[in-house]
């Protein structure tokens, strides 16, 4: 079982599908860690064969160390680019989107934080949010914004956790911001300072 099942939650919480070959003039894939498997599964489908010549894959290893660069390179798509992190891939992504035409299909696979940031960039480029295909693979660690100091902490596994910017104890909500590409963390002991429940590893 590779596809992640999520507990039903509030409507703000994103849900993801399974990548499938889209119709279009060009195809941009952005994946991290285990997300590479979703891309490989798509290209294993017969109808994806003719997409390869118009496909561009941007890949970064997962924060957990998962690196499937070799699998993606073996696909033989027109362009493959490996970046050490999402941040370091951003200038390339911005250039690709700036040069692109309508008809470009965008696919994101891997962790929620990665997919959300790709979707946010696509939206900033004028595409509807729904235009980005997303498939979750790998870690459930979250990208969380502290609603108090606005700092974003990547790869949050514990709940509550200490904001890496202001140090408050934050409860991680399912409330999600598409614009910020982050879940929202709110101070858990604001009314009873010091009353912080023990942290649990909720996001593995």
């Amino acid at each position: 079982m590779t596809k992640t099942m999520f507990e039903p939650s509030i409507t703000s919480r994103p849900v993801y599908g399974v990548l499938s070959p889209g119709v279009g003039s060009a195809h941009l894939f952005v994946a991290d860690g285990e997300g590479a498997d979703a891309v490989c599964d798509l290209f294993a489908k017969a109808e994806a064969a003719e997409m390869k010549a118009a496909s561009h894959i941007i890949y970064m290893p997962g924060a957990n160390g998962c690196d499937k660069t070799a699998d993606l390179q073996a696909l033989g798509v027109a362009q493959f680019y490996r970046a050490p992190s999402f941040a370091s891939a951003q200038s390339r992504l911005a250039k690709v989107l700036a040069d692109a035409h309508m008809g470009l299909q965008i696919y994101a696979a891997g962790t929620e934080g990665l997919m959300a940031q790709v979707a946010a960039l696509a939206q900033a480029a004028g595409l509807p949010y729904e235009a980005v295909q997303m498939e979750h693979r790998g870690s459930l660690a979250r990208r969380v914004q502290c609603v108090h100091c606005k700092g974003v902490t990547e790869n949050v596994r514990l709940d509550p956790f200490h904001c890496s910017h202001c140090g408050l104890s934050l409860f991680v909500r399912d409330h999600f911001s598409r614009r910020l590409a982050a879940f929202q963390g709110v101070n858990i002991d604001a009314e009873d300072p010091g009353q912080v429940p023990a942290s649990v590893e909720r996001f593995k």
Partner: protein, 321 residues
Amino acid sequence: MSVGAPKIPVVVAEVVEVNALIKRFRFQRRDGAAMPVFSGGSHVVVEMDDHGTRRMNPYSLMSHPADTLGYEISVRRDEVGRGGSLYMHTHVRPGMEMVLSQPVNLFPLDARAKKHLMIAGGIGITPFLAQMAQVEAMGGRFELHYSVRSPALGAYVEHLQEQYGSRVHVYYDELKQQIDLKTLLKSQPLGTHIYVCGPKGMIAWVKATAAAMGWPALAVHSEEFLAPPVGLAFEVQLAASGKSFTVQPNQSLLEAIEAAGVEAPYLCRGGACGQCETDVLRCDGHIEHNDHWLTDAQKASHTKIMPCVSRFRGAALILDR
């Protein structure tokens, strides 16, 4: 606008014959106050008292959205329709008092778009006149592709070319000119949104072509008001208000409900907005669904009807109204 919303009492300030088929009407408030500012793509419902028959037709606003001194619409004369456009053409004169609804926008520009690609067919140009003025004022990027039958019937072509220059592309059917849609859609920068207003066939063509080329459905916007079709007379019973009456061949079900003194919700009166959706309690016969609001499954179930454009054939129709 819907039940209870304040209407705008106006006087006809100007009637201009644009060409053999199209007239332009300008309305100003009777009390001299300012019109509400609207957004490009909005329409108003114009109320007409056609010799005892109340007609309420939606027309796109084509004047500058920031012009609060008056509203302008253009009306294409339809010889075979139910008579609303003919009434506007033959009876409406400067100085006449009429009533407009508040502006409603079912065809707005998506402000997130990087570029607006507008495709108009014939009288479908009207919402774009307001939209282009709005985009221009906001410093946005747009391109208009406007298809008309002949130079003689190309309403506002000169004005548009003068105002917007090379961003306006005109195609004349008579000269065998056609929008090269595939080439056009292939070269659009990422973030472009399409807006299409015109005949049903043109809208379907643009939507299908864009979808086949990988455009997201949410980046393709369209508007088509349906005129309520004429049909056979039929009986209807309203359960909640306890009334029964006949809907005449050239009357819509909504108009008949209103004529019976029952207030029913509505907005566009053209099968587009969904406001007048009504539950069907009993249907012994066949509902002629003419809207593009209900889903195919809803239409097949015969449990809902859009009284603004849809009709009925059969023994008994009972509505929850």
